[in-house]
C-alpha cells in the first residue's frame, strides 16, 4: 500500500473542509470572546469614539418632503428590480456572459437613488454621529460569538471563510482600540471613513500583484518575480510621467509603460522557465535580485542627480456621480484614485477571462494537467507564455500604482515586500480573482491600521515595530493556516515536456 504518499484524496479534502468550517467557527467565537473581555476592561472614562464623518463638504440641495417620498419610492422599486435580476438571472434566461453586466447595471441603478436619499436624509446626522467604541465593540463581540458558535455547530462550509474574514476585521478594529486603552489620549477618534478609504488604496497594488500571481499559477508557472515587476513598473512609470510633465494622457502612457516593463520581466521568466525549463522559483528570485539591483543603481546614479525625472503628480481622483455620496461607503469605494477603479475592473476582467473565455479554459487546463491539454492540440508552452507575460504586465501596472497613482516619487525599497505578500494573497484568495480581491482588501485594512496606529505611537503601550510588522504577521498566520487545505493548480510550478 502506498499510503505514505496518498495525501490529497477527495474524501480527505471533504473531511478537511468540514473540519475547517468548525475551526473557523471556533476562531470567530474566540475573537468574539476576546472583544467582549477587552471592551469590559475599557476605561469607562475613555471617550474613544468611532466617527463616521467624511471630510467631503459638498452638500446636496435640500429636497422637499414630497420629493423625498418620490425618491425613496423610486429607490425601493429599482432595488427590487435589481434584486430580482440578480437572484433570478437564470430563470429569466439571461445569457450567462451577460448576467454580470446586467447585475452591475441593476445594482448601480438601485444604489443611485438610495444613495441620493441617504445623502439627503442621513448624511448630515451621520457626519457628526460618533459612537462610543465599547458599545460597538461589545455588539461586534457578541455577534462574532454567536456567528462563530453557530458555524462551529452547523459546520457550514459555505460562508465559513467570509465569516472568519469579517470577524478578523472586527477583531483588528477592537484590537486597535484596546491598544489605545491605556494611553492618555483623550478623545481618540477613529475616523472610520478615512481608515477604510486608506485600506482600499493600500489594497490597490496588492490586487494587481495577486491577480498577476493568480494568472501565472493558473497556467502552472510560479511567478515569484512580482516584487521585481513592481519595482521596474514603479520606476519606469514615474520617470516617463515626469519626463512628459504630467499631461493627462502621458500618465495613462506612464502606467502602460510600467506594465510593459513588468511584461518584459515576465517574458524573461517565461523564457527561462519554459524554454530552458529552469527552476521557476529560482529564476523568479534571480529576477527580483536583478530588478532590485537595476532600480537601485538607476535611482542612485540617475534619479539622485535629476530630481525632475522623479516627480509626478497624483492621478486624478474620480468620484462616481451619485454613488460617492453614500454615507461612509461612498468615499471609501467611489471617491478614489483612478487606478483603484482600474484594479477592480481588472479583477472582474481577469475573472471573465479565466472562467468564460476559450483562452481562460485552456490556461486553466494547462495548469492542471498539461499532458491532457497537449493531447487535444492545445500548445502548453504557448498558453504559459501568454499567461506569464500578461501576469507580468498586470504586476507592472501594480508597480505604477506605487508611484504614479498617489503621485509619489520612486525610492528604492518602496515596494516593501508587497510582491511577496501578493503571493500570499493569491493563496489566501484560493487562486481566484475575486478571492484575491477580498484578500487584498483584508490586507489593505491591516496595512491601513498599522499606519493609523503609528499616528498615536507615542502614547502606545506596545512597541512600534510590532505594529509595523502586523501585515506581515497576518500574512504568515493566514498562509500557515491555509496552505495544504486548499488545492493549488495541480501542475503548478512543474515544467512540462512531452516525452
Amino acid at each position: 500500500m502506498s499510503t505514505s504518499v496518498e495525501i490529497v484524496t477527495l474524501e480527505n479534502l471533504r473531511a478537511v473542509s468540514r473540519g475547517r468550517a468548525r475551526a473557523y467557527g471556533i476562531t470567530t467565537a474566540i475573537f468574539g470572546i476576546l472583544e467582549i473581555v477587552w471592551m469590559g476592561q475599557t476605561h469607562p472614562g475613555l471617550n474613544t469614539t468611532i466617527e463616521f464623518g467624511a471630510n467631503s463638504s459638498t452638500s446636496m440641495p435640500e429636497l422637499s418632503g414630497a420629493w423625498r417620498v418620490i425618491v425613496l419610492a423610486a429607490a425601493l422599486l429599482l432595488a427590487g428590480i435589481s434584486a430580482i435580476a440578480t437572484t433570478q438571472g437564470r430563470r429569466f434566461a439571461l445569457p450567462r456572459s451577460g448576467t454580470l453586466a446586467v447585475r452591475i447595471i441593476a445594482i448601480a441603478l438601485a444604489l443611485w437613488p438610495i444613495s441620493l436619499w441617504l445623502h439627503v436624509n442621513v448624511d448630515g446626522i451621520l457626519r457628526s454621529w460618533t459612537v462610543p467604541v465599547h458599545v460597538v465593540g461589545l455588539v461586534i463581540g457578541v455577534l462574532s460569538l454567536l456567528a462563530g458558535g453557530y458555524l462551529a455547530w452547523k459546520r457550514y462550509d459555505r460562508g465559513a471563510s467570509a465569516t472568519l474574514y469579517a470577524a478578523l476585521i472586527a477583531f483588528l478594529l477592537t484590537f486597535l482600540v484596546w491598544v489605545a486603552r491605556g494611553s492618555d489620549v483623550s478623545g481618540l477618534h477613529l475616523q472610520l471613513t478615512s481608515l477604510l478609504a486608506l485600506s482600499v488604496s493600500a489594497a490597490t497594488c496588492l490586487m494587481f500583484g495577486s491577480l498577476s500571481g493568480t494568472i501565472c499559477e493558473r497556467s502552472g508557472v510560479v511567478n515569484i518575480a512580482i516584487e521585481g515587476q513592481f519595482m521596474v513598473g514603479a520606476m519606469s512609470a514615474v520617470m516617463f510621467a515626469s519626463a512628459f510633465n504630467g499631461a493627462g494622457i502621458s500618465k495613462t502612457f506612464a502606467v502602460l509603460l510600467g506594465g510593459v516593463f513588468g511584461a518584459l520581466m515576465g517574458s524573461l521568466l517565461a523564457v527561462m522557465a519554459l524554454r530552458y525549463k529552469a527552476d521557476q522559483v529560482i529564476v523568479g528570485v534571480v529576477i527580483v535580485a536583478f530588478c532590485s539591483a537595476i532600480t537601485q543603481f538607476l535611482s542612485s546614479q540617475v534619479l539622485n542627480f535629476h530630481q525632475n525625472l522623479n516627480q509626478s503628480e497624483p492621478l486624478p481622483v474620480w468620484a462616481v456621480p451619485g454613488l460617492s455620496k453614500i454615507p461612509v461607503l461612498g468615499p471609501v469605494l467611489f471617491d478614489q484614485n483612478v487606478l483603484v477603479f482600474v484594479a477592480v475592473l481588472m479583477v472582474v476582467a481577469v475573472n471573465i477571462l479565466l472562467y468564460r473565455t476559450r483562452w481562460g479554459l485552456r490556461v486553466r487546463s494547462v495548469g492542471e494537467k498539461p499532458i491532457a491539454s497537449e493531447t487535444v492540440g492545445v500548445s502548453v508552452s504557448r498558453m504559459r507564455y501568454g499567461a506569464v507575460i500578461l501576469g507580468g504586465f498586470i504586476a507592472g501596472i501594480g508597480g505604477a500604482a506605487f508611484t504614479v497613482g498617489p503621485g509619489s516619487s520612486f525610492s528604492y525599497g518602496m515596494t516593501n515586500g508587497y510582491g511577496y505578500i501578493a503571493l500570499a494573497i493569491m493563496i489566501f484568495g484560493r487562486w481566484r480573482p475575486y478571492g484575491a480581491l477580498a484578500a487584498s482588501l483584508l490586507f489593505g485594512f491591516t496595512i491601513a491600521m498599522s499606519a493609523n496606529l503609528n499616528i498615536y505611537l507615542s502614547q502606545l503601550v506596545i512597541p512600534q515595530q510590532f505594529i509595523s510588522a502586523l501585515p506581515y504577521i497576518i500574512t504568515i498566520a493566514a498562509v500557515a493556516g491555509l496552505v495544504g487545505r486548499i488545492r493549488p493548480p495541480a501542475a503548478d510550478g512543474i515544467p512540462f515536456s512531452r516525452e
Binding site: 500500500m1 502506498s2 499510503t3 505514505s4 504518499v5 496518498e6 484524496t9 477527495l10 474524501e11 471533504r14 473531511a15 450567462r96 456572459s97 468564460r356 473565455t357 476559450r358 483562452w359 479554459l361 485552456r362 486553466r364 487546463s365 492542471e368 494537467k369 499532458i371 491532457a372 491539454s373 497537449e374 493531447t375 487535444v376 492540440g377 492545445v378 500548445s379 488545492r487 495541480a490 512531452r498 516525452e499
Partner: protein, 510 residues
C-alpha cells in the same frame, strides 16, 4: 481514412520499444493490436498521435506521406485517440473536458457553454452513454471517466480512432455497448485501431489482428483464421494456460470478520449498507458486482483509505476494531492491498521502480538501518522482484511512470506480495495485464491462498471471479445480495448482480 505506418522505429535510450513496425489500416476497418505488456503498442500509437517522435519511419495517410509533429497535427489530420491512462482534467467538468481544444465560441472569445452542453447531451444520447455534462471528473467512477474519454474522441469527428485499452475498466455491459458503437462507426466508414488484452473481444470485433512482441510485428491474422489459444501463443511466444488450475480450497479459521459496515461515499450518501461477511484463512472470497455498487468504498474502508460510519472489522490476532484505524496500523496488521487505480493509489510515478517496490516498507529494518536507507538491499530486492514478476523495465532505477501500463500493475502486485500477509485485498488485480501475466498473477494469488492467506478479490470480470473465487459474494446497491459457490451458473450470478435476491443459495446473510 487509409493509414499506413512504414518501418517505425522508436527507442528510449537503449531500449527499442518499436523496431521497424509496419501496419496498414484500411478505411472502415477495425484493426486490433495485440501484444504483451511492454510490447510497444502504446508507444506506436503515441508516435502516430504525435506525442512521441519516431527515430525513423514514415506515416502515410491516404497514400500521402505526412509528418505529425504534435497532437495538434494529428487532430488536424482527423486522428482521434483514447489514451490508456486518462487524459482528463480532474477538476474540470465533463463539458469542459470534452470541448477543450475545440471549444464552441460565440461571441468570440467567450465559450458557448450552452451549446457545448447541448452537443454533449445529444452525443451521449446517440451512443447511449449516461453521463452528466455538469459532473466534475474526479467525482466520477473510473468507468464513467472512460466514457467521457470516448465521448471526447467521438466529438472531434475523427476519421481514424485509436482506442488504447478502452475496455480495461469497463463492465462487460459497457464493453458490449462500446463494441456496438465501434461497429456503427465502422459502418460510417471510419477506421479504428483497437488495443485490448481481452481475446474474446478481439475475436468478436476485429477485421484484422496484428500482434506485436518485443517491439516487432510477429504476425497478422483475422478472427476467422485463429482462436484464443493461438493468439495467446503468438503474443507470449509460448503456450498459455487460459484457465486457472487450483486445488480445492482448504479453508481454516476465520481471519477477517466484517460486521454491519456502513460507509459513505464522497457525496455523503451511504455506499456500503450494513455489510457483513467472514473471510477464512486459505480461501479466496471474490466480490462480484457491476462497478459502482459499493465495492470501491468497501475496499477503501477495509484498507483505511476511507472513514467508516459504523460497524466493525475484526482481524484475528489484532487487538480492536480495524474499521477507521490508521492506514499504517492496517498495514502492520498484515493487510495487503492492490488498489483499483494504480496510478493514483498504487505508485509514485516519479520515483524509481525500486523505491516503489518498498514503499510500504520504508522503515522496515530490512531496508532502513541506523544510518538511513539500505540502498543496496533495496536494489537487491528490486532485482529479484523484477525477475520474479517479469517486470519489463530497463532497470530498477527508472521512474515507475515510464513503465507500460501492465508493468506498472506488476510493480504494485509484486510489492504487496513481498510482505508477510494475513489478508490480501485485490481490486481488479489483472486490469490491463496481458494473458501471460494474468496467468502468472492468478497463480500467485492462488499460491498465497494455499499459504493460508485470506484473499479478497474485487473484480468486474465475471470470468475472473468464477475462476478464482472459492466463494462469490455479489454486491448490489451497497449490500451483499448473497454469497454463493463458484459452481453457480453465470446467469444466476448475473441476476444477482442486477439486484434479484438469491437467498436460497446464499450461505450466509447478515
Amino acid at each position: 481514412m487509409r493509414l499506413e505506418l512504414r518501418g517505425i522505429t522508436k527507442s528510449f535510450g537503449s531500449l527499442v520499444a518499436n523496431h521497424n513496425v509496419s501496419l496498414t489500416v484500411e478505411p472502415g476497418e477495425i484493426h486490433c493490436l495485440l501484444g504483451e505488456n511492454g510490447a510497444g503498442k502504446s508507444t506506436l500509437m503515441n508516435v502516430l498521435y504525435g506525442m512521441l517522435t519516431p527515430d525513423s519511419g514514415e506515416i502515410l495517410i491516404d497514400g500521402e506521406p505526412v509528418t505529425i509533429r504534435d497532437p495538434k497535427d494529428a487532430v488536424a489530420r482527423g486522428i482521434g485517440m483514447v489514451h490508456q491512462h486518462f487524459m482528463l482534467i480532474p477538476v474540470f467538468s465533463v463539458t469542459e473536458n470534452v470541448i477543450l481544444g475545440d471549444e464552441p465560441v460565440r461571441p468570440w472569445p467567450f465559450v458557448d457553454y450552452r451549446k457545448a452542453v447541448t452537443m454533449i447531451t445529444e452525443l451521449s444520447q446517440r451512443y447511449n452513454f449516461d453521463v452528466d455534462p455538469h459532473a466534475t471528473i474526479e467525482n466520477l467512477p473510473i468507468g464513467t471517466q472512460q466514457r467521457v474519454e470516448i465521448l471526447k474522441a467521438l466529438s472531434h469527428h475523427a476519421d481514424l480512432l485509436v482506442l488504447d485499452e478502452p475496455t480495461a475498466v469497463l463492465t462487460p455491459q459497457e464493453a458490449d455497448a462500446l463494441i456496438m458503437i465501434l461497429r456503427s462507426l465502422k459502418e460510417m466508414g471510419k477506421s479504428i485501431i483497437f488495443i485490448t488484452h481481452k481475446l474474446r473481444e478481439v475475436l468478436e470485433i476485429a477485421d484484422v489482428i496484428t500482434v506485436l512482441r518485443l517491439g516487432e510485428v510477429v504476425g497478422s491474422t483475422t478472427p476467422a483464421e485463429t482462436n484464443e489459444e493461438d493468439l495467446a501463443t503468438m503474443m507470449v511466444g509460448r503456450s498459455v494456460n487460459l484457465v486457472v488450475d487450483k486445488k480445492p480450497a482448504a479453508p481454516g479459521d476465520v481471519v477477517l470478520e466484517v460486521r454491519d459496515l456502513l460507509v459513505e461515499e464522497d457525496r455523503g450518501l451511504t455506499a456500503v449498507k450494513s455489510v457483513s461477511f467472514d473471510v477464512h484463512a486459505g480461501e479466496i472470497l471474490a466480490i462480484a458486482g457491476v462497478q459502482g455498487n459499493g465495492q470501491t468504498e468497501l475496499v477503501e474502508a477495509l484498507t483505511g483509505l476511507r472513514g467508516v460510519t459504523s460497524g466493525s472489522v475484526i482481524l484475528k490476532g489484532y487487538d480492536g476494531n480495524l474499521a477507521g484505524a490508521a492506514v499504517r496500523d492496517i498495514l502492520h496488521a498484515g493487510i495487503g492491498h492492490v488498489p483499483e487505480d494504480r496510478q493514483r493509489h498504487g505508485l509514485v510515478l516519479s520515483l524509481p521502480v525500486e523505491d516503489n517496490l518498498v514503499l510500504d516498507q520504508l522503515s522496515d529494518p530490512r531496508y532502513h538501518g541506523r544510518f538511513g536507507r539500505k540502498l543496496r538491499a533495496i536494489r537487491e530486492n528490486a532485482r529479484t522482484q523484477i525477475t520474479d514478476f517479469d517486470i519489463r523495465t530497463q532497470g530498477p532505477e527508472l521512474e515507475a511512470g515510464s513503465l507500460s501500463g501492465g508493468n506498472q500493475q506488476k510493480v504494485v502486485i509484486a510489492r504487496e506480495l513481498s510482505r508477510e500477509l494475513r489478508v490480501l485485498i485485490c481490486s481488479q488485480p489483472t486490469r490491463g495485464l496481458d494473458v501471460g501475466s494474468i496467468e502468472y498473477m492468478h497463480r500467485q494469488i492462488v499460491a498465497n491462498r494455499d499459504a493460508n492467506v485470506a484473499v479478497i478479490i474485487v473484480s468486474s470480470e465475471l470470468d475472473e471471479v468464477l475462476a478464482l473465487g472459492d466463494r462469490i459474494a455479489v454486491m448490489y446497491d451497497g449490500k451483499i445480495q448473497g454469497i454463493v459457490p463458484p459452481t453457480t451458473s453465470r446467469e444466476d450470478i448475473g441476476l444477482m448482480m442486477a439486484g434479484a435476491g438469491n437467498a436460497a443459495t446464499s450461505e450466509e446473510q447478515a
